[in-house]
């Protein structure tokens, strides 16, 4: 049987031609064809084709493959050596330009390294717990109330016994004000926490000595540094110490110090007393639960039905709950009862973006400097290209340069960071470095540097690719246009960023000033706020008498002014129009309160200690408005849980009992004594009076150090985040402007160099000094102007968004935008003026003779 031979598939032969050495190709192809036809007649077409493919693939071996251009490696190496040499020489020869480049890079690098370190530090909070994905905190939502992470004591144990999915649960409470620990003569206030013993099975706090065994009753666990303070001889286990002079505790174990990036911070831990009765009204602790690792957390947490029935069984049908995962603890805004510090995700976002912007800005700056140098290197690059260098090879030069510059910039950046550390001690970078692992830092630095090098190499190389070599050699202006328009774009972009930053900074600053100078409705200067606890509160009358003896003490009052957290629903008041209810904030105050804090009365009177005030009430204007009263005095209102109506005796002018981020809400000032003691002092006597008051306090309460704060400081602290952000913003803004100016400087340098002949000819023909300045600077002014126009909408959007944080804010004004633009314009002109002046006043002959 002999079929007509069909031609073989083409692809294997094409493949062969592609990889095979041309010398051997024809013979091998012949052999393959011959074999193929023989096989075809023996076994048929298909089998022969399969064999053919197999054979061709087997031909792909070192002896037969054609390696591209054996002469290339040589060429490559010599180019590389040449580039290294040229880079080094350039660095030495053009000291000013190189310095500018390295400074610009270093500044940007320092900024974004600092920012990324800080961000990494913030994000590392609570990440060291191995069960971090299984642990949650319960947040209760009551119908009509704000959600609360402060939960009733029995919740933890009931949840754990009710749900098999919850394998462990613990209560956690934190002694915010500290407790007095005492051993012998050594006594200090320490921060402590109260937990159930399962706490230590849930979280990864390491035991150094002792164990959790029998952790109940009067046992105490100390951290290592606390233990060392009280028991310097290192033998703390089994020793006794007293807390608040009352109870004695036995040291059961010593923990390693709590890591700095832990939300839970404590010096000592004592156990909760076991629950004896189901008292669901005692809200004071956090409820922490750990789910079985087999359970999908989302599945359990969303199955609200079972939780719903659980709340029904304990007769709290109006309750529902949410679960906060452990990694979110640090960023949750309601955690102040439990954690001394908290993070702010918004701030992290703002800073990460700022970090990226600065990184990009400094890279853009670097790239525009490098591409500017192209013109001077055109001949060299053109020649290299003619001799067969690919554009990637030519761009190796930029890789080497970028690498060298980035390494030098890294050194500069570390110097900047050290300098920064000296002046801004609030942000402790070294401390950050300690909490992060070393390899994290290495990754951050490496990542930033590599992306910098990549960016700095790829853009110039891409620009190079577009220019044909002959055009490079001919020094044809037309073809250099693409690189110079890129550069122009970069400069405008840079200025856009810096103008936006400056305008934002101005708006930011204005808001901060506004906060600082805002009429708050109460006196915050020269008022001392002293915190009392259960032991010191009973001594208040004696203390008050002592204080009032001094002529510089104006008034003493007690009020829960700083603790306006809760709300209550008022459903019953005089003249109520429909079935509505309002939420008001309750606050207690004694009769001296309005005088002490100089709160103005709009109508009526404040409380009087000569009258019984059980049935009277003072409200603020917001409350009067909410209840629809024009004249509130004499009106009746019923408080929840009370039998009798109360009569309004006075209305105070609205005052900011909260920070300015929150609006003033309706406030009921109820007569009573609880909260802090407020002491107002005569102006200018602050320092001596604090000392006097502290002495008086010590006389009354010898066992407790006075815990106090000035109201002005408290107010400042309420907005501390914004002050801190403002400070950093300032640093960033200045850096952005400096980086942009560096690139301007390089640009004018370059323009002057290129236009030196033109300037010479114009001068010879009688152009004046100012003509030349105008010639050299008009472009830059145009750039800044364009950048200004672009930056207006961006800034407006971003800052408008930011100002939404505040309930009380300043308005934008056109002069902020104008002054932002002009600051940058003036800086730009001033930066370039020096070079322009030098060019304009140089002897024209020198420029013309230079052939």
């Amino acid at each position: 049987m002999k079929n007509e031979p069909t031609p073989p598939p083409k692809f294997p032969f094409r493949l062969l031609k592609w990889f095979c050495q041309p010398e051997y190709h024809s013979d091998i192809e012949g052999d393959l064809l011959e074999t193929y036809y023989r096989r075809q007649s023996d076994w048929g077409r298909e089998k022969a084709s399969t064999f053919l493919y197999q054979e061709v693939l087997l031909l792909f071996r070192p002896g037969l493959i054609y390696f591209v251009s054996p002469s290339l490696p040589m060429n490559y190496r010599s180019l590389l050596r040449n580039h290294l040499k040229v880079t080094w020489r350039n660095l030495q020869r053009k000291k000013a330009t190189s310095l500018l480049e390295i400074l610009g890079l270093g500044l940007g690098l320092a900024c974004c390294l600092g920012i990324f370190l800080w961000v990494a530090g913030e994000l590392s909070f609570d990440q060291f717990h191995s069960k971090k994905d299984e642990i949650f905190m319960v947040e209760l939502l009551l119908d009509g109330w704000e959600e609360s992470v402060v939960t009733p004591a029995p919740l933890a144990s009931s949840l754990a016994s009710e749900f098999p999915e919850i394998i462990r649960a613990s209560r956690y409470s934190y002694f915010h004000d500290g407790m007095l620990l005492k051993v012998g003569d050594q006594q200090l206030m320490e921060q402590g926490a109260k937990v159930d013993s399962s706490f230590f099975n849930m979280f990864d706090f390491t035991f150094k000595e002792g164990s959790l065994h029998n952790f109940e009753g009067n046992k105490i666990i100390l951290t290592e540094s606390t233990a060392d303070k009280y028991f310097p001889d290192k033998n703390a286990i089994g020793k006794i110490l007293s807390i608040n002079q009352e109870e004695t505790y036995l040291v059961a174990a010593v923990l390693e110090d709590v890591p700095k990036n832990s939300s839970f911070q404590f010096d000592f831990v004592i156990p909760f007393e076991p629950i004896t009765e189901q008292n669901w009204g005692a809200w004071f602790c956090a409820t922490l639960i750990q789910l079985d690792e087999q359970i999908e957390p989302q599945q359990f947490l969303t199955s609200t039905n079972s939780l719903k029935t659980f709340y029904d069984t304990i007769d709290k049908a109006k309750w529902s709950s949410r679960f906060i995962p452990l990694p979110d603890f640090y960023f949750h805004d309601k955690m102040t009862p439990f954690f001394p510090q908290s993070g702010n995700l918004n701030l992290i976002w703002i800073f990460s973006i700022a970090g990226f912007v600065i990184l990009i800005l400094s890279c853009l700056n670097y790239v525009s400097l490098t591409t500017a140098k192209f013109v001077t290197h055109f001949r060299q690059i053109g020649l290299e290209k003619l001799l067969g260098a690919g554009y990637w090879q030519s761009s190796h030069k930029y890789l080497i340069e970028a690498f060298l510059h980035t390494s030098l910039a890294l050194i500069v950046a570390s110097l900047f960071l050290l300098l920064f550390q000296r002046y801004y001690e609030d942000i402790d970078l070294l401390n950050l470095a300690e909490t992060l692992h070393l390899n994290h830092i290495t990754w951050i630095v490496l990542g930033v540097c590599l992306s910098m090098i990549f960016f700095n190499t790829v853009l110039p190389a891409l620009t190079l690719k577009t220019i044909p070599p002959m055009a490079l050699l001919r020094k044809n202006e037309e073809h250099t246009l693409s690189s110079s328009s890129l550069r122009r774009g970069l400069v405008i972009l840079q200025f856009c960023v810096s103008i936006s930053m400056i305008i934002s900074l101005l708006i930011f600053q204005k808001q901060l000033d506004f906060i600082q100078n805002k009429e708050l409705g109460y006196r915050k200067d020269q008022v001392l706020s002293i915190r009392l606890n259960n032991q010191t509160a009973p001594t208040l009358p004696v203390f008050r008498d002592k204080l009032q003896q001094h002529a510089n003490v104006l008034n003493v009052s007690q009020s829960s002014f700083e603790y306006v957290y809760f709300d209550m629903t008022i459903a019953d008041w005089e003249g109520k129009s429909s079935e509505e209810s309002i939420m008001v904030r309750p606050m207690t105050a004694d009769q001296e309160f309005a005088k002490t804090l100089e709160i103005e009365m709009v109508e009526g009177r404040f409380y009087d200690d000569r009258l019984t005030e059980d049935e009277s009430l003072v409200i603020n204007q917001a409350a009067a408005r909410a209840m629809g009263w024009d004249l509130a005095t004499g009106k009746k209102v019923r408080l929840p849980g009370e039998e009798e109506d109360r009569t309004i005796i006075g209305v105070v002018k609205d005052f900011h009992y909260w920070s300015l981020t929150k609006a003033i809400e309706p406030l009921f000032i109820i007569h009573g004594s609880s909260g802090n003691v407020y002491v107002s002092m005569r102006e200018g006597t602050e320092n001596e009076m604090v000392a006097y008051i502290e002495k008086a306090y010590q006389e009354v309460n010898p066992d407790y150090p006075m815990d106090y704060v000035l109201l002005a400081d408290r107010y400042h602290n309420q907005h501390a985040t914004y002050h801190q952000a403002g400070m950093l913003f300032q640093v960033f803004g200045i850096i952005a402007v400096i980086i942009s100016c560096i690139s301007l400087l390089a640009m004018i340098n370059f323009t002057v160099e290129r236009k030196s002949r033109e300037v010479g000819i114009r001068k010879v023909h009688g152009a004046s000094f100012w003509n030349i300045i105008h010639l050299l600077q008009k472009d830059f002014i145009l750039y800044v102007f364009l950048a200004f126009i672009f930056s207006i909408p961006i800034t407006w959007l971003v800052m408008n968004r930011w100002l939404q944080i505040f309930a009380y804010k300043t308005a934008f004004s056109i002069d902020q935008f104008l002054s932002g633009g002009s600051i940058v314009l003036i800086t730009a002109v001033a930066t370039t003026l020096f070079h322009a002046t030098r060019a304009a006043s140089a002897n024209p002959i020198r420029a013309l003779r230079d052939e």
Binding site: I28, G30, L64
Partner: protein, 110 residues
């Protein structure tokens, strides 16, 4: 010059080229080896070996006639050089010497 030695496959290819005397080109060498030794040889390994031996000077090659079945590609005929022959003889001689030195006893074991 350093004494060179033949590899096992090299020796087989060289001998086959000798056997085919005057008709030794890629396909025929391959078929001859497959027929005589009953082992499959890929074009790739054969070509690499042929080229290598050519470079070392054991073989010479010359283009011959063509054939429509080869797609118009000429056959490349190989022939052993005197140096190649010398190497073959050397290989055979050393092999024989070794065989002769082998004690009868060892051969009887089996």
């Amino acid at each position: 010059m350093k004494q060179r030695y033949l590899g096992e496959f090299e020796e087989i290819v060289l001998l086959t080229v000798g056997i085919l005397h005057g008709n030794a080109y890629g396909v025929s060498i391959r078929e001859e080896i497959e027929r005589r030794l009953d082992r499959s040889v890929s074009i790739g390994s054969l070509q690499v070996t042929l080229r290598r031996m050519e470079k070392k000077g054991y073989l010479t090659s010359a283009h011959g006639e063509t054939n429509p079945l080869r797609g118009g590609r000429p056959k490349l005929y190989f022939e052993i050089t005197p140096y190649g022959k010398q190497l073959l003889e050397y290989a055979k001689e050393t092999r024989n010497n070794l065989w002769n030195a082998l004690p009868q006893l060892v051969l009887n074991l089996k």
